[in-house]
Every structure is written in C-alpha cells, then in structure tokens.
C-alpha cells in the first residue's frame, strides 16, 4: 500500500502514534485475558507482592468435586443456564413481536420504539432501584396488583426462586429494546416489493411472516441469539443490585466475583481467593465457549438451508 506522507524517516510516524493504543490494549485487556488461565493454577490472593505458588489443578478439583462447595457451584451453574434460557427465549420472542408490530406503518411508532429502548441508557443500578420500588412489598404497585387477585408476595425478599424469577423479568425489561432494535434494522432491509409479491399471491399475514419475513430475518436472528446467549450467561449486575449475594440465587458470574473479591470471606484483600476465582472464570468461559460454538454451528447450518 502506497504511503504518501513525507520522506523515509517520517514513515515511522504511523507506528509511533499507533503504539500507545496497542500498548494499553495488550496491558489492560489482552494480557490479563490470557493470564487468567495461568492464575487459575495458582493460589494467588489479593495481597500486594505476596508469594504466589503453583498448585496445579487444585482449584479446579476443589471447584468441581469438593463437598458442599462443589454442590453450591453446580447449583450456581444450573441457575446460570436457567437464567440464560429464560432471558434468551423470552427476550427474543418479545423483541421480535414488538419489532414486527412497530415496523408497520403505525402512528406514534417512534415514541413506542424510544420508550422500549430507553432502559439501555440507565444502567443496572438505576434499573434495579426503580424496580425495587415497583416491587415494594408493603403496598407497592405490584403488591397492589397481586392484591386484586387475592395474592401476596415478598418479591425480591421472598423465596430464592421467586426473587430469581424477578431478576429474569427485570433483565428482560432492561434489554428487550436492544433485541428489538436489531430486529428492526433487519426488517428494514426487507424490501416492500417482497411483501407486495406475497400479497398478490394471496398469502395471509401469517404466511407472509413465515415465508418472507422470518427467513429473510436470518442475520438478525443469528445476531440476537448469539448476543443474548453469551450476554445472559455472563450477566450478574442486576443480581448484585437487586438481591446481593444471597443463597439460592447466585449465578456463576456473581460467584466468581464473590470468591475473588472477598464477599464470602471478609473484605481484607489478603482473603481474596483470586486463583480459585480465576479457575471458576475459566470454567464459565468454557461453558460460554461450548454453548456459543454449538449455537453458532446450528445457526450456520440453518442459514445454509434457508439461503441455499
């Protein structure tokens, strides 16, 4: 590639200016990312300058096989999968439904779109606090709604399973807008003439959706499924804000944070179990990788079948 700027010596300018960005990236993101697997074989703590010993597979053995802790870990792993499944399927379904409706020529569609998309800017803390108020158990709005049906609930402070379910609801509330936007941008690439042709052939609305919209929406379907699955396997901010580290509700991401940064053993950095947390991160990473690759494979095959 031709380079136009100045003499031979100044040929180095682009390299020089590129360096800070690369340096920061390797130092802060890429390097640590790779180092996670190294730390997972050590007994590192959060104590500055402390000696770090190589302990082989001990962290993994402890995580997977050691008594009650291992049971708790598998329970958290199970909850992570449950969370991922419900968040992905419901958010996908609702996002698609709303996108298809908004894509029609309806009055006020931009207002609705903006409204559903709005929570993305608020962040987990504000999202969580807004919903904590909405779910205030002593006569709060949701409690009043339940009263109409003669029911009552502690919501976030109630049974772990119920609190967990509410986090799923709030997670979907917060992120459905993103799914909707990606579907909408996909829908807009489908030309009006495609719909016209189908209608001239006398297709019903459902047939138009099944035979025109759905197959042509494949790229957005793939993007949304991949983003939602990977995102929800790793998401735990709302658990932190809404529930805290509560037994029976933790997902893997939160568990890693808790053991690595002393939520389970006190807040002195020397009690941080960072090697163990690194091993747990690798296990979560492998889970995301296996599920991600599996889903990707299925989606690719489906795409080939549809697109020919």
């Amino acid at each position: 590639m031709a380079y136009y700027f100045g003499s031979k010596r100044s040929r180095w300018t682009p390299y020089l200016l590129l360096l800070p960005g690369i340096f920061f990236y390797v130092l802060i993101a890429l390097g640590p990312s790779i180092a996670t697997s190294v730390y997972s074989f050590t007994n590192a703590t959060g104590l500055k300058g402390a000696q770090i010993d190589w302990i082989g597979l001990d962290n993994y053995k402890e995580f997977l096989f050691m008594g009650q802790a291992a049971k708790d870990n598998f329970a958290a792993l199970g909850r992570t999968l449950i969370f991922c499944f419900f968040v992905t399927t419901i958010q996908f379904g609702l996002g698609l439904l709303v996108a298809v409706i908004i894509n029609q020529n309806l009055k006020g569609r931009n207002i609705f779109r903006t409204l559903y998309f709005m929570p993305v800017i608020l962040g987990a803390v504000i999202q969580g606090l807004i919903w904590s108020l909405f779910l205030f158990p002593l006569g709060g709005p949701m409690a009043r709604i339940l009263e109409l049906f003669g029911a009552q609930s502690e919501f976030l402070g109630g049974q772990p399973a119920e609190a967990f379910a509410w986090v799923i609801v709030i997670q979907i509330w917060a992120n459905m807008g993103t799914t909707m936007i990606i579907f909408l941008s996909g829908l807009q690439t489908i030309g009006a003439e495609m719909y016209e042709a189908a209608r001239i052939d006398g297709a019903s609305s459902w047939q138009v959706f099944a035979n025109v919209t759905w197959p042509l929406l494949t790229p957005s379907v793939n993007t949304n499924l991949t983003l939602n699955i990977i995102g929800s396997l790793q998401a735990w901010q709302l658990f932190l804000v809404l529930l805290g580290y509560r037994n029976g509700t933790q997902v893997l991401g939160y568990l890693i944070y808790a053991v690595g940064f002393g939520q389970t053993s006190g807040s002195v950095t020397s009690s941080f179990r960072q090697g163990y947390a690194a091993a747990a991160s690798i296990i979560l990473f492998l889970l995301v990788l296996v599920i991600g690759l599996g889903v990707n494979y299925i989606l690719k095959r489906r795409e080939e079948r549809i697109m020919g």
Partner: protein, 281 residues
Amino acid sequence: MSTMTKSVRNKKPVNWGRIGSYLILIIFAIIYLGPLLVLVNTSLKTMPSFMKDATGLARELHFQNFVEAWTKANFPKYLFNSLIYTVSATTIYIITAVFVSFPIARNYVKFSGPLLTLFVIALFLPPALIPQFQLILNLGLYNNPIGYIMLFIVNPIGIVILVNYIKSVPKELDEAAALDGCGYFRFVWSIVIPLIKPAIATVVVLHAIGIWNEIIAPTIYLTSEKYYPITRGLIVFQGVYGSNWPNLAAAVLMLTLPMLILFLFLQRYIISGLTSGSVKG
C-alpha cells in the same frame, strides 16, 4: 391478525390487526412507563403518607425530598467523580483508538490484518477480571482514581467500528493532502477526525455510557468513599436511607431524568453502534 396493513377503502371494515397491534404496544408502554411514573409519584410523597399507602397518588407534592436527598448524600462529589472518570477515560481512549484504527484501515503499517485480528480476539478470550486486578494492585493503583481510569481506556469493539468507517473515506484524500505538504499527524488530527465524526460519536457515546453506569469495577477497585462514582454512591445512599423511599426515589429520579433527556439526543448513536457493532458475526 388477518389483515395487517391493507384496508379496503369503500367498506372500512374494522381493522382488528391494527387494533391488536396498538393494544400490544400500549401494554408494553405501560410496563415500561409504569415503574418510572411510580418513581416520580413516590419522590413527591412524605414518608408518613408513603408508609400509609405506598402506591396512592402523591397529593402533598413534597419537593423537600429532593433537597433532602441532595444534602444527605454527597451527590455533587459522586457526580464530579463520575464525570472525571468518564471524560478522561473516554478522551484517552478515543484519541488512541483513532491512531490505531486509521493506519490499520489504510494498511499504512505492516501486519494491519493481524493487528485487527488481535483486537477482535479479545472478544473470544476468558474474562480479564482477576489478572487485571493483580495488575492494578501490583502497580500500586488499587483504590486510586488513576488505576480506575486505566481500566477504561481500551475497547476493542470501538476499533472495529472505526476501522470499518474509515474504509469508506476515499484514499485520494490522503494523496492530495500529502501533495499539499500535510504531515501524517496533522492529516489524521484535522482532516480524518472531522470526516469520521459520526463513527467517533457512536463509539464515544457507547463507551461513555458504559463507564458512567459501571457498578462492578467501582465495587472492586474503589474502597474510599471520596472516590466513589455516582453508581456506587447511589448504592451507599440506599444502604443508609433505603427505608426512606421518598428520599431514595427523589435521588434516583434526579439521576434518571438527565440520562433520559440525554438519551433522546444520543439514541441514534447508540442504535448505530448496536447495529454496526453487531455485524461482526
């Protein structure tokens, strides 16, 4: 759901598809607006009236809540911290990112392709959480604003967005500018940057929102209250005054409203970031 778009002009039949569509949109609108309206309502109630009836309409318009929330917590300090973190990290990031993206997009450095791959690869690697902490700790930057800012001066997705956008800027421009004696730095700084403003805006908005809303990193890295950003400050406020919902609601509302107004202006940048960032496949 039988006739979705076309209505016959003469007969004007009831368009059930359209009615159903609006019905669904309105139900969702209530789900999205409801919690916000409850927040507004609660922020205007007195504590006794909240205790008596948490949901009932606020009749007393107790604006005092906002004053109390503002003075009880150190919100100006938290807001100032958040602003410093967000602005400084985003500024450093975007400047370094432009100088990484431009030569890669133009092939002005050797190994441009592998370099770009190097950035994309981070999206498929294990989380950096633990070693990152060890790094900051051993640099002596734990519980230090500089260490905290450092965490946010990288973002590989932004690089991908910038590279893609720069590729749409015609190369003839480089040649013409160089012929006029324009140097590399000046060209990127005063010609390329203005030309790729839309992409820069998108990346800046996405990156800044991420920092502003971050809650995990401040919980891990900042232990002194004087360094807390607004997210952590809100959690502290909730911990102390959490039982006083009218006060807490006022605090949350004061921080939510500016974000919502900002959202109306920034929405298109967020959308373009989402749709361009997600094509990565």
